[in-house]
């Protein structure tokens, strides 16, 4: 593979293992998440010499390490670095790699591999991690000679973070780690076969601007692309100049402050009423840095058929993949928006905007009001989130797991600044939250990190409480306990005649478990304890676990039933 490389270090004689660490330092990696084992021991041994430069966070499971690296990457915008041993160490990374792939998160995973003379011999802890990870990595490579290491790592970092980011895996045989060679690091600045950022076509921007200038009922739907490209300011300027109402995908949340007057909320299956309904009434749909996931579009045959579609994306494979784009604009959206702003007219759409407001009122009256000030005895997830908002004022960084609590937390949390919402979107990985929150906090220590988790998902990576104990990362954990695998139970109730097959949970005493790991905590059942307990949690120095018992059989609404049209969004 032909690549452009620029020298950053001078030549020195060293081992492959040492070269890995020198390369990480050259890439400005200061934090690595991982777990040692036989095939990666030379690298861990070398790590011992670099404790000043590189902090290694020992998680309690490789899945914890990779989700932590994802949390780190999403909170900082930098590449997350992960290390694991061969065989089970490497395979334990796979869920996180797949998650990072579908959510476009930049990661470099380094796995140890058995000695090159043993490859293919079913040696102890040998797995073909290159083949296993192939469909879920942006790129991967196996290194069997020390001299190949610097270039492989340089490419890995370049590929992981350029264009549409994604996870990369470098598998290093043990002999390559031991081998001595003349090390020299050159940063990668280009690869012949790889065009990460398509060149912006000015004509396409002009065409887009024309459609926007002529539209009566334009609607902007935006995704994580805004955050990944760092285009938050340009995006705000664009919508303010054109006065176009906007709504976010799950991963786009926090790219635009929740309170912005043109922010109409969230799209998709559990998104807001207006944005879903009005997708099928707009005359122009402007998609920016989003990929029309099926959880956003519902039935494609009835999705925005009346509208012209403009699609801004960096990945050519996303254009026309799910929704036909009348005007595709390929390129980095920061650059595209900068140019677009110059070409669009100052405008406002008061009547159209009011339509969103009208639906918002309906949703408030029929759903949100009852959710945040419930008349039921049991607490709701929404009132917990609403209460948290009152204390954080939208300044916290929210990390969620997967399920009902995720949808509720994302719907109800206020966000003031970008990179404040970290969740597993495309893969929907239960167990993501706790380790991702640790990674986010270690990456952005200045931020208040609140991990909102279901009782089910918490137990998928509960062992990472040990990582909190060891790193003293300060995280506020809120368990929304409904004693059910709530989201699955909701589907069973709505679509499977209430046959609650294997979804009820007998749960342990979470507070006692937390205590065992040195994490303070409390469990509450009553509404009157909610506000002061949240305050207590936020005031607590150190990590804290607050378990809130919520209604066992509450449902998340609105909801677009799976496969239905966004127009058929249900309020109950």
């Amino acid at each position: 593979m032909e690549a452009l490389l620029t020298q950053v270090d001078k030549k020195i004689r060293t081992t492959g293992a040492d070269a890995v660490l020198k390369s990480l330092i050259a890439e400005e990696v200061a934090l690595v998440f991982g777990y040692p084992g036989g095939a990666i021991m030379p690298i861990y041994d070398a790590l011992y010499n670099y404790q000043e430069e590189i902090r290694h966070v020992l998680t309690r499971h490789e899945q914890g390490a990779i989700h932590a690296a994802q949390g780190f990457a999403r909170a900082t915008g930098k590449v997350g670095a992960v290390m694991a041993t061969s065989g089970p160490g490497a395979t334990n990374l796979i869920t996180g790699i797949a998650d990072a792939m579908i959510d476009s998160t930049p990661l470099v995973c380094i796995t140890g591999q058995v000695g090159s003379h043993l490859l293919g011999s079913d040696a102890f802890q040998e797995t073909d991690i290159i083949s296993i990870s192939m469909p879920v990595t942006k790129w991967n490579d196996q290194v069997t000679k020390a001299e190949e290491l610097p270039e492989a790592l340089a490419k890995a970092f370049y590929i992981a973070q350029s264009g549409r980011p994604g996870p990369v895996l470098i598998d290093i045989t043990k002999d390559a780690q031991f081998e001595e060679f003349d090390y020299q690091y050159k940063k990668c600045e280009g690869i012949r076969s790889y065009n990460p950022v398509p060149q912006l076509d000015h004509e396409q921007v002009k065409k887009a601007a024309e459609l926007i200038n002529g539209a009566q009922r334009p609607f902007v739907v935006f995704g994580q692309g805004i955050i990944l490209s760092g285009a938050e300011e340009e995006f705000k300027t664009f919508i303010e100049k054109t006065g176009i109402p906007t709504a976010s995908t799950l991963l786009g949340l926090s790219a635009l402050p929740t309170d912005h007057p043109l922010n109409m909320g969230m799209l998709g299956m559990h998104g807001n009423y207006g944005p879903n309904k009005l997708t099928n009434e707009c005359d122009l749909l402007i998609a920016i840095g989003m990929r029309f996931d099926d959880r956003v579009t519902g039935d494609l045959n009835t999705y925005a058929k009346q509208a012209k579609v403009i699609h801004f994306d960096i990945d050519p494979a996303e254009i026309n993949k799910n929704v036909y784009a009348h005007v595709p604009v390929l390129g980095d959206c920061k650059e595209a928006l900068t140019e677009l702003i110059r070409n669009v007219r100052m405008n406002s759409h008061p009547v159209w905007h009011q339509r969103f407001k009208d639906y918002e009122k309906v949703e408030n009256d029929l759903v949100i009001g009852e959710q945040i000030t419930p008349t039921t005895l049991e607490m709701t997830m929404a009132e917990v989130m609403d209460s948290i908002n009152r204390f954080t004022n939208g300044d916290a960084l929210l990390v969620t797991d997967v399920g009902q609590h995720q949808m509720v937390a994302c719907r109800y949390t206020r966000f003031n600044q970008s990179k404040s919402n970290i969740t597993s979107g495309g893969l929907g990985t239960m167990g993501f939250c706790l380790p991702a929150a640790i990674g986010a906090k270690l990456g952005a220590p200045e931020r208040e990190v609140i991990a909102v988790i279901g009782d089910g998902g918490f137990q998928m990576t509960i062992q990472e409480l040990g990582t909190i104990l060891q790193t003293q990362a300060q995280i506020k954990i809120v368990i929304l306990n409904n004693s059910f695998l709530g989201m699955v139970r909701q589907w069973q109730q709505l679509f499977f005649d209430k046959r609650y097959s294997s979804t009820e949970m007998e749960n342990p005493d979470f507070v006692t478990i937390a205590k065992g790991y040195g994490v303070a905590g409390k469990s509450i059942n009553d509404r009157e304890d909610l506000a002061h307990s949240i305050q207590e949690m936020l005031n607590h120095k150190g990590s804290y676990l607050l378990e809130v018992h919520v209604g066992k059989e509450d449902n998340v609404f609105p909801m677009v039933p799976s496969g239905a049209s966004v127009s058929d969004i249900r309020l109950s």
């Binding site: 593979m1 032909e2 452009l4 290159i130 083949s131 192939m134 469909p135 942006k138 790129w139 991967n140 196996q142 590929i159 280009g190 690869i191 012949r192 076969s193 790889y194 990945d315 050519p316 494979a317 254009i319 026309n320 993949k321």
Partner: protein, 174 residues
């Protein structure tokens, strides 16, 4: 409507890329009709020729997914009219059964086939052509008893000149 398409993929030579490319098909439950890899006229550039039956809509998406792979320089697809393509077939038949009268001569002449090897008890016939043509000869030889048959994957070059120019441009721009 499903049609036959030939995909030409130009890549950096790299271990595992074949796996990456085929998994794009298997993931979508698509059958690869044939696949060939070879050098190309460009130094260090490899060429995959993949034949697949699918819809126009799907092939467009598929090719973009292939081109998205880091080590792929370019991927394009064509219908049969826009390519010149060939396949090669080898037939092993019993010498005794075909060696009677004018049969061999007729067979070679009519089919533009040739004999690659002749042994005491078997002979190997080779024919290049499109699938229908090699299939036709297969049908014919079956009557005389066929011991072995194999057909290669398609190799194909594209007719439109702009494609070759575009590829060269990409490489020389680097």
């Amino acid at each position: 409507m499903r049609k036959t398409f030939t995909i030409s993929v130009f890549t950096e030579n790299s271990i595992g890329l074949l796996n990456r490319i085929t998994s794009i098909f298997t993931r979508r439950h698509l059958n690869i009709e044939s696949l060939n890899t070879s050098e190309s006229e460009l130094a260090g550039v490899y060429r995959f020729t993949i034949v697949v039956r699918t819809t126009e809509d799907q092939i467009k998406k598929l090719v973009l997914q292939i081109e998205k792979q880091v080590e792929v320089l370019r991927a394009v697809f064509h219908e049969d009219d826009d390519t010149v393509f060939q396949e090669i077939a080898l037939y092993k038949v019993s010498t005794k059964s075909v060696a009677d009268g004018n049969l061999v001569e007729k067979l070679i002449r009519d089919n533009h086939a040739r004999i690659l090897s002749m042994e005491q008890d078997f002979m190997i016939i080779e024919k290049t052509g499109h699938k229908e043509e090699t299939q036709e000869l297969l049908r014919f030889l079956k009557e005389y008893g066929i011991i072995e048959f194999v057909r290669s994957g398609r190799v194909s070059v594209m007719k439109p000149m702009n494609e070759s120019i575009e590829l060269r441009k990409r490489i020389s721009n680097f």
